[in-house]
């Protein structure tokens, strides 16, 4: 099994097609939608995680190409080493997407990976080095 993260861009005529449905049904892929911005008049943008056999992922990607969906595979992801983290909050000062946030009650840090734009700002901002880059593929 293999897992990749990718962003998809649809042209307007494709926003009504059940693309993820076909990826799941026809290619036996596990699709986790991380972020979706679909504007029916203009275009759609999806960030998804795709899990399946190497072969099925290839087939799925080919299906996307045939449909005219443009995609970009993420080769990096941000990892938060929670056991190192002291929950100071310095990283939240720079995170543009609020993927990193302080809980207003217990003042612990939370990391919502699905909102992460992989801008890498938090890696430098963390004084403890608890944010790191993970390369996959």
């Amino acid at each position: 099994m293999k897992k990749i993260k990718l962003s998809l861009r649809f042209s307007p005529h494709l926003t009504e097609k059940p693309i993820t449905y076909h990826l799941i049904k026809d290619y036996d892929l596990v699709i986790n939608i991380l972020n979706a911005e679909i504007n029916f008049n203009k275009a759609g943008k999806l960030t998804v995680e795709m899990e399946g056999t190497e072969e099925n992922i290839d087939k799925g990607l080919r299906y996307l190409e045939q449909q005219g969906v443009k995609y970009k595979i993420f080769t990096k992801t941000i990892i938060w080493e929670e056991d190192k983290c002291v929950h100071c909050g310095a990283c939240t000062a720079v995170c543009p997407s609020r993927a990193l946030k302080m809980d207003q009650k217990d003042w612990s840090l939370s990391f919502d990976k699905s909102k992460c734009l992989v801008c890498e700002l938090c890696i430098q901002a963390c004084p403890i080095n608890a944010m790191d880059m993970d390369f996959f593929l």
């Binding site: 100071c88 909050g89 000062a93 302080m102 003042w107 901002a125 403890i128 080095n129």
Partner: protein, 387 residues
């Protein structure tokens, strides 16, 4: 008016009868029961902070080698330590950078590695003397096999501190963290209503000799901190602001835990160290309860524009900690996100731990042997022509 002495409170602690609450908990108690009742019922209030504190360092005594050496230059894991003391004593400062790894490793990391029991490479050189003929040594040490290792921090636990922002069009890297352009963010750095010196703002119970929680062990306040100024400012009719007191603290590094002290690197600024400090405040009278009931909305700080590389930087706004904690404040009609730099989660952990050890009778209060000065000035360094 009820008054309690340190001795009476310690007696209660020994008998397991002391009532101890944290500086967070006392706020609701006072609201519910009133100052008078709380002054009678509560004996000790615990306060804490876990913040980056640059003025951190450790004294080490390595012991003598066979064929002894009078170390005049010392490096620990390639970080220079100051050895202009005695033959085998040195002081390692947290902000000192490694000569081989730059910003990735510094004095704070050496201190962290020592506390963690790791092996640290000691390299020392000397000019050689009749009684100390050896001129060079390279070996490993750990905290277990050296004689003394104690933290001595000349300036910690700032009473209150600025919040920082950046009006310029460039990102700036400061000891207040990464500041985004065009007032992109604001950072702030005390634990507010839980902060030690904001709960005893006139230092009525805290002074030289006070026993404190220091990075996981029991330490002491040894002196006023550097730049210590006990200043008082009126914000409005009901709010008085205290700002500049600091503490010099001391404690046995061998007993510390890196859960409560941690090396830190501020991007493009340098190395510092998070230090966890907890201070118990005895409820000696009703006036003390009034101070201890202080809450985030009563404590003001100023948002300073760090884009001016000058001694005096412009103040943009006065804000209180409740506003800072809310996640965003208004600045020039724009909502600017706020972020802390010190860990309130860790500070709360320390305040609770200290509370528990007092309740268990493991931590007794120590009455100061001398108060900290209240008439210091904050002096600048004026450059004079040197012939």
């Amino acid at each position: 008016m009820s008054k309690k002495s340190f001795e009476e409170i310690n007696e209660k602690i020994k008998q397991g009868k002391a009532v101890v609450v944290t500086a967070d908990e006392i706020i609701d108690l006072v609201e519910e029961k009133g100052v008078k009742k709380v002054a009678q019922e509560v004996d000790v209030v615990t306060t804490a902070t876990f913040s980056p504190m640059c003025s951190t360092g450790a004294f080490l005594n390595f012991g003598h080698t066979e064929v002894p050496i009078r170390m005049s230059k010392v490096w620990l894991n390639d970080v220079p330590a100051y050895a202009g003391l005695a033959a085998v004593d040195a002081f390692i400062g947290a902000t000192e950078l490694s000569e081989s790894r730059g910003f990735d490793y510094g004095g704070a990391h050496v201190i962290q590695d020592l506390i963690d029991g790791k092996k640290v490479k000691l390299h020392a050189t000397s000019y050689g003397t009749d009684c100390y003929p050896k001129k060079e040594v390279t070996t490993y040490i750990t905290k277990e096999d050296i004689n003394q290792a104690y933290l001595f921090n000349p300036r910690n636990a700032y009473q209150n501190y600025n919040a920082a922002t950046n009006s310029s069009d460039k990102i700036i890297y400061t000891y207040m963290g990464t500041l985004l352009p065009d007032y992109g963010n604001i950072t702030y750095c005390t634990s507010g209503q839980l902060s030690p010196l904001l709960n005893d703002p006139l230092l009525r119970t805290i002074g030289i000799g006070t026993r404190i929680f220091l990075a996981g062990t029991q330490g002491y306040i040894s002196w006023e901190g550097t730049q210590h100024v006990l200043s008082v400012e009126k914000i409005n009719q009901s709010t008085t602001q205290y700002s500049g007191a600091t503490l010099a603290v001391i404690g046995n590094l061998k007993e510390m835990s890196t859960q409560f002290i941690r090396a830190a690197t501020f991007e493009k600024y340098g190395i510092t160290m998070f230090v966890g400090i907890g201070i118990p405040i005895p409820v000696i009278d009703e006036k003390m309860v009034e101070f201890l009931a202080v809450k985030d909305s009563d404590i003001y700080t100023q948002v300073i524009d760090y884009s001016y590389p000058k001694r005096s930087k412009p103040t943009i706004k006065k804000v209180n900690y409740q506003e800072l904690r809310s996640g965003a404040i208004d600045l020039n009609n724009k909502k600017v996100p706020t972020a802390p730099l010190s860990s309130l989660k860790k500070a709360r952990e320390i305040a609770l731990l200290l509370k528990e050890s007092i309740i268990k009778g493991e931590f007794l209060l120590q009455k100061p042997v001398q108060p900290l000065p209240d008439n210091n000035e904050f002096k600048p360094l004026n450059e004079r022509e040197v012939e």
